[in-house]
Amino acid sequence: MQKLLIYITLCLLPLAGAAQTTLQVVTKTVQKTVGWKPGYELEINGEKAEVEVTPGSGNNIVVRAELSARHPMLDTAKIDVEGWKFVVSTIGKKVYVRAYVGLPSGKRLPTSNLKAKIVIQAPPSCPVNLANKFGKAHLERLDAPIVLSGEFCSFTLLQLKGSVRIDSRYGNIEGTAIQGKVDVQSKRADVALSQIHADCAVRSEYGKVWVQPDAQTGNVWIQGTKSDVTVDLPQPPQHNVFLTAEYGNVSVPAAFQQSKSGENTNRAVLSQQGTRPVLTVETNFGSITVQ
């Protein structure tokens, strides 16, 4: 018995070393439903928010927000959660959803960690404009054009039929099965795109870009500044490919024709017969890899 106790104590010792903090989490849940008509747009403005937009049923926009404050002291968390302001309103032809931390004058700054989780169900044909800082955004199975901007906000896009325009700083972008035109501008963020069924443009600075074009992908143009670009070509390749790397390496399969222009510029070309979409990659201080 004594041996067993020693054994259990020894097993628990490493756990005792991993210090933990208990946080009191106060969550205010708000749900609102607002009517929608064709021609109306959804304008989402979030802060410290995880936003999810998926298709709903009927001509309504249903918004559910979980606004929380985390702090070791329950009283502090309770006061700080009141700093959350959540507004759903229709002005003109725009339905605004806003979650922000509002500070009445004279009140102290919240010391709790504040987070919002916003789940929105919108009609698939409702255009969405979303801006978010410090969080995540997940958009799925929507048909209308989408415009996104974020800072420290990662984007996940799945099965979108409309055009997609994204401007992201410090937030990774992952897009799969997008039928509309894609336009990405990113800084210090990684971009991964696959199953794009239209033209696609990516301008990346200080990041990694990974693109997997297929037979349905239109023209692709990638410009990387201090970014590494990887293109995952299907077999057989469907595009005519033009690669230029200034102050960077180009790594391609044997079918490509490689050349050097000057001392610091590497080029590679894959020209195929017939009219094909064009895939162009231009980088400086970044490598290009085709696999």
Binding site: T22, Q24, S89, S112, F152
Partner: protein
């Protein structure tokens, strides 16, 4: 109205003491005005007023009183009034339907629970800035020659950009941010800053 003791009143008014509002008051007012202009008052926050229940009975009673008093007028203008009433009813119906379609409904609730956080996740949020970063800032404030070297300047501006990003991310996370993804990003920024700092230090 003529003021009988106009001169006395003016004299008394001139003798009243003047007070300056505290400077902080204007800051508070400006902040409040900025907030108000940035966020228009949502319609759902406006107060709702329900008319008293007997108001319809009063209207009906008055209509009944007025009706027998002008039968000839009614017969002459009846068609016109009927048309106006129909139009008004249609407008009210349309507005009502619009409101019904675009109304906002909802509910609100509050709950409390606990979360256990690994302290290692909170450590990056509480780390102090390394003195070497301040040394680089100091060099450039003093306009040392190395700060004029283009490569140094480029790296320094990159470092400044990362430092700004680090500050805003730390501010957003607070002392108890437990989002592994954002904390991971903070660590990555810190690593990138350290890499640039090392290069800058070798150039000094």
């Amino acid at each position: 109205m003529k003021e009988l003791n106009h001169d006395t009143l003016q004299k008394a008014l001139r003798q009243l003491p003047a007070y300056e509002p505290p400077a902080l008051l204007w800051d508070a007012l400006e902040t409040q005005l900025d907030l108000d202009s940035a966020m228009p008052v949502p319609s759902e926050n406006l107060p709702l007023h329900t008319p008293p229940a007997d108001i319809w009975a009063n209207i009906e009673a008055r209509l009944e009183q007025e009706a027998p008093a002008a039968p000839a007028l009614q017969s002459r203008r009846g068609g016109l009034w009927w048309r106006r009433l129909s139009a008004a009813a249609a407008v009210v119906l349309l507005l009502g339907a619009g409101w019904w379609a675009m109304r906002t409904e909802g509910f609100e609730s509050v709950e409390v629970h606990q979360e256990i956080v690994d302290n290692r996740l909170l450590e990056p949020l509480q780390e102090q800035e390394d003195a070497a970063f301040e040394m680089v800032q100091h060099l450039c404030r003093e306009q040392q020659p190395v700060c004029q070297v283009p490569e140094f300047r480029n790296l320094k501006s990159e470092l400044d950009e990362l430092t700004e990003a680090r500050s805003s991310l730390r501010e957003a996370l607070g002392a108890y941010g437990n989002d592994p993804e954002l904390v991971g990003q903070l660590v990555e920024i810190e690593r990138e800053r350290s890499r640039i700092l090392q290069t800058l230090v070798t150039m000094i």
